[in-house]
């Protein structure tokens, strides 16, 4: 099997789906002949031509609004938002239109589409090239939300998302684009939406996380194991809505301790939902408070990017705190 990084895995998923389904089209800023500022669509313009892969004027509501129309016509658009920080001009089209189309029309109209966007920090991008807005979309009924943490999942989840009949917000942790490498099949395969993966087995603590934070969690768990003999299990959610509650519950009933890790700001972040859902269902299993290690409730900063991110050190501290409780 070839090794790929996430950009290559995304590119491969797009190619595979465009080859097998003529209705799949890509649109966005700089995605055409140029191949996207992160090169995710590189080569696709050449292979599929300007009627399958094309640049748009600079307007996110135009991108998503016309993608909705194309989807209503029977196509499967895969619009790219250059950075998810710039998705808000399309927020109305996503929240009031795409997310409600199936429901409000009694299923007469649907708009299957995958909105791809790089997300998260790690590239010194400051306020507007680092955001993690997944909670906005998880809180919006009618969308699926996906965030891969490795190349294999990235390709399999993206193919599954393109074949899915709902609008999917597909968030790609840009700091992993080239950093995360792994074996990825050339051809087609899917990773089922809604299923988490247990990336580490353990008995003392469950870390629930996703995206780039999975890697910080893994390092912290390794250290905790080596230095304090704490055995940590790690759940990589992969799909954030609908999320795999059973996988989390199963692990928590075993460990009784939970640490949630994500880059997005803490208040009303996705970690709050997971914590609340466990509080409702697993209170008697909990041997310690559920802790959240997240981005802080500030705009994403430049100089202190590393201090802002939920890094290994902060996760380690949370692991200690739940054990010492």
């Amino acid at each position: 099997m070839p090794t790929m990084n996430i950009i290559q895995a995304v590119n491969s998923a797009l190619r595979v789906e465009m080859q097998s389904d003529d209705m799949v089209v890509i649109l966005g800023e700089d995605v055409g002949q140029f191949g996207g500022v992160f090169r995710a669509t590189q080569g696709l313009f050449k292979e599929f031509g300007p009627s399958r892969v094309f640049d748009t004027p600079l307007a996110e509501n135009g991108i998503i609004g016309s993608a909705i129309g194309m989807a209503l016509h029977g196509m499967r658009p895969v619009p790219e938002i250059q950075f998810v920080d710039f998705i808000y001009p399309a927020f109305d089209q996503i929240v009031n239109e795409a997310a409600k189309m199936r429901y409000r029309s009694g299923g007469q109209y649907t708009c299957p589409m995958v909105i791809r966007a790089p997300c998260g920090g790690g590239i010194k991008g400051g306020h507007y090239h680092s955001q993690s807005p997944e909670a906005y979309f998880i809180h919006t009924a009618g969308l699926k939300v996906v965030m891969p943490s490795n190349p294999y999942d990235a390709k399999g989840l993206l193919i599954a998302s393109i074949r899915d009949n709902n609008p999917v917000i597909f968030l790609e942790p840009k700091q992993l684009y080239r950093a995360a490498r792994g074996e990825v099949p050339e051809g087609e395969y899917t990773v089922e939406l809604g299923k988490a993966s247990r990336v580490r087995e353990g008995t003392d603590i469950t870390i629930v996380t996703y995206g780039a934070s999975v890697h910080e969690a893994l390092e912290a768990a390794k250290e905790a194991d080596e230095e304090d003999q704490i055995s940590t299990e790690i759940i990589d959610l992969r799909t954030l809505l609908p999320y795999d509650l059973d996988a989390i519950l199963e692990s928590v009933k075993k460990t009784g301790r939970v640490v949630i890790v994500h880059e997005a700001p803490k208040t009303c972040g996705f970690g709050a939902e997971i914590s609340a859902a466990l509080g409702e269902r697993a209170l008697l299993y909990l041997q310690a408070p559920i802790l959240r290690v997240t981005g802080f409730d500030t705009p994403f900063p430049y100089t202190f990017e590393q201090e802002y991110l939920p890094n290994k050190t902060r996760v380690r501290k949370a692991l200690r705190d739940v054990m010492d409780f």
Partner: protein, 366 residues
């Protein structure tokens, strides 16, 4: 100063000098007339119904029927109508049944939307009539996407979208027309300039000479037409559809018309506009104008008209009484169609609600 709107029929129903009626067969003319009349009568009746508290809300189109139905009349069945919320006439022309309309207004179990949406927010994929949503302007880029898809797929259909003068101020209007211009989308943008956005006059909506002139900012064709002249609206829309189909690009049509009624049944226009203005526009009423034309042309007689009125009244009565008897949808419809399959958390929430609504369900659980 504004370019004069194109017109064929004078307010008195006579043809303007040098203009002739478009080549439409008499029976087709009568079909057109019937729908305009039906739209008017349905609006009157539903407005009454709302006053009686039998439905919660209604949006009429009194005075704007020609700009709506005339435009839709220029389309083929495979073409798309992407409506705002005032285009019942276009739906009726395409065969939308009064019964389906009434069920939606009541939000009952026969409503194809399962009572999920406010009255007046119907949809019909079968008729290629879009799903109505309340936010102003949101549908415009959808029409661009449909017209772009038609071009990319070579399916030969066009998309006609309707919106008001207020909608031209939205960002969605701008991006929709700009994208359409760049891609030569097979789309027709029909702006019903009915002079008002609730209480805001179109003169306060923009400082541009006209709304049609905005087309220049997008390198597309723009035309002004008398929106109360069903022939003129038909003609310009027909031309726009031909151009779009032939890949010559989209058109922005400004149909100059007037909202004779309230914005919706929640509105009282006397609070913000003069009766005098309303009266002056009543003189240009599209229904009586077309009616006079048909009478003069001998396609319509008083007798036929009286029968038609009776027929329409019965049709409305039947649909209404049938629909009003039907009960609400089942509670699970509230949780369906959020996603294609019901996810675990909605299953759970449905159960939770069942326990409250049907205590016996709760019993079984404990």
């Amino acid at each position: 100063m504004q370019e004069e709107p194109f017109s064929i029929l004078l307010p008195n129903g006579k043809l303007r000098d040098g203009q002739k009626a478009p080549p439409i067969k008499p029976e087709e003319l009568m079909r057109l007339y019937r729908v305009i009349l039906l739209n008017r009568r349905v609006d009157e009746r539903m407005t009454k119904l709302q006053r009686q508290g039998r439905i919660g809300f209604y949006v009429g189109s009194m005075g704007e029927e020609a700009s709506i139905i005339g435009a839709a009349f220029a389309l083929e069945a495979k073409d798309w109508v992407i409506p705002c919320y005032r285009e019942l006439g276009a739906a009726l022309l395409r065969g939308f049944s009064l019964f389906e309309l009434c069920c939606q207004l009541f939000g009952n179990s026969q409503d194809t939307l399962h009572g999920r949406q406010m009255p007046n927010h119907y949809a019909s994929s079968e008729l290629r009539f879009g799903s109505i949503s309340s936010p102003v302007g949101n549908q415009i880029p959808h029409a661009t996407g449909l017209g772009l898809a038609a071009r990319l797929r070579g399916t030969g259909d066009v998309a006609l979208t309707f919106f008001g003068d207020g909608a031209t101020s939205t960002g969605d209007f701008h991006v929709a027309l700009n994208f359409a211009g760049v891609y030569k989308a097979q789309t027709i943008f029909l702006c019903r300039n009915n002079q008002w956005a609730i209480s805001v006059p179109s003169t306060a909506q923009t400082a541009s000479e006209s709304l049609a002139i905005k087309a220049q900012g997008y390198g597309i064709k723009g035309v002004r037409v008398d929106g109360n002249d069903v022939f003129a609206v038909y003609a310009v829309t027909r031309e726009a559809a031909d151009r779009a189909r032939q890949g010559e690009g989209p058109t922005l049509i400004e149909a100059v018309t007037y909202r004779l009624g309230p914005h919706t049944t929640s509105d009282d226009p006397r609070l913000y506009r003069d009766d005098a203005e309303v009266e002056s526009w009543k003189g240009k009423d599209p229904l009586s104008r077309f009616r006079s034309y048909l009478l003069n042309a001998g396609h319509l007689t008083e007798e036929i008209d009286t029968d038609l009125e009776k027929e329409i009244k019965n049709e409305i009565d039947t649909a209404l009484s049938k629909a009003e008897k039907i009960g609400p949808p089942t509670i699970d419809t509230m949780f369906e169609d959020v996603l294609d399959e019901m996810p675990w958390h909605l299953d759970e929430q449905l159960e939770e609600l069942r326990c409250v609504l049907e205590p016996e369900v709760a019993e079984q659980k404990t």
